[in-house]
């Protein structure tokens, strides 16, 4: 089996992230590596870089990992998590500039079909207003 792109969902709210994960699972089943995280280090609303790093590890695939984010700090913390990866992994993890719910579903569908990371990202980002 060829390696498929993994997905990471990063929301300020763990409930939103879990809900999106549930939606993805219903659509693409268990054959995709998907990890999610949400909340700050104290368990309140927010994001934290350690949880994102763990999620990237959990969703890791040689084909790469696409990250879907909600608001500002989710994106910035995700970019920081990528920067803190070992150099050989840094170029195979990307943040998609896409709405988190629709983007995650589209990215999951695309990833399941075996699309390359750049294709998964492009399709998800088509959903963003330019």
């Amino acid at each position: 089996m060829t390696d498929r792109v993994g997905l990471v969902i990063v929301s300020h709210s763990i409930d939103i992230a879990r809900g999106i994960n549930d939606m993805i699972r219903q659509i693409v089943g268990a054959e995709l590596k998907v990890a999610f995280c949400g909340g700050n280090a104290d368990g309140g609303l927010g994001t934290n870089v350690k949880a994102i790093q763990d999620a990237i590890d959990a969703a890791w695939s040689p084909a790469g990992v696409a990250i879907l984010v909600d608001l500002g700090s989710a994106e910035i913390n995700s970019e920081l998590a990528i920067e803190m990866l070992p150099p050989d992994r840094r170029d195979t993890v990307v943040v998609c500039n896409a709405p988190i719910v629709e983007g995650s579903v589209v990215a999951a569908t695309e990833a399941r079909s075996g699309a390359l990371l750049k294709e998964v990202r492009r399709i998800a980002e088509e959903l963003s207003p330019q």
């Binding site: 927010g46 934290n48 608001l71 500002g72 700090s73 913390n77 920081l80 920067e83």
Partner: protein, 200 residues
């Protein structure tokens, strides 16, 4: 540059704690109002780690402090301050002079630009760190000249239109407010300079 780490961290943490209300009010005006408490939490987390950082090299302690801030401040400011210090730590040598410190600060500025996808003039902390870092790296800066520039740079964010972060949703209504990240950056720079003067 000989500077006792504990006195620098104390000065920074004290300044953030002492100005928590101002930072909160600045952020409440154009953001979500959590910047004051977030920065205090970061400052206190640094203070709690002074002991473990005492035995580290300058580079190691900057990287460690960056990790702490990235984990504790939260919001967008945490990863930005964190990435800045980590990038400085990766660049700086064992006994940096002022120009070398400035060079490391410029590496930190590049990290803010990269991680935050931000450029100068968008009403962010970058509008303080970029001119101050360039000044420290290139201009034969003094405590007085850095102090003056940091305050002028933070004040210069007042008439800017916010283009990044939550304040960007306000568009032109963000005009007339100082950017809270620019102000916390100014506060930290002034606090470090205070510590430099006390150490003389």
């Amino acid at each position: 540059m000989q500077l006792e780490l504990a006195s620098v961290i104390d000065a920074v943490a004290d300044s953030l704690t002492g100005n928590v209300l101002e930072l909160t009010e600045l952020d409440a005006a154009i953001g979500d109002g959590d910047h004051g408490l977030n920065m205090c939490r970061g400052g206190e987390a640094l203070r709690a780690e002074v002991g473990s950082m005492a035995t580290m090299s300058v580079a190691q302690s900057l990287c460690h402090a960056g990790h702490i801030l990235a984990m504790t401040i939260g919001g967008a400011a945490g990863p930005l301050y964190g990435s800045m210090l980590m990038a400085m730590g990766k660049t700086i040598g064992p006994e940096p002079g002022l120009a070398e410190l400035g060079k490391a600060m410029l590496a930190g500025v590049q990290a803010i630009e990269r991680i935050g996808k931000v450029v100068a003039g968008q009403k962010t902390m970058l509008d303080v760190w970029k001119p101050v870092s360039q000044h420290v790296a290139l201009d034969g800066a003094t405590v007085q000249s850095i102090r003056k520039l940091a305050s002028e740079a933070a004040a210069a964010t007042v008439p800017m239109v916010a283009m990044r972060g939550r304040a960007s949703h306000l568009g032109e209504r963000s005009i007339g407010h100082m950017d809270p990240g620019a102000r916390s950056s100014e506060l930290m720079i002034l606090a470090v300079l205070d510590a430099v003067e006390w150490n003389r």
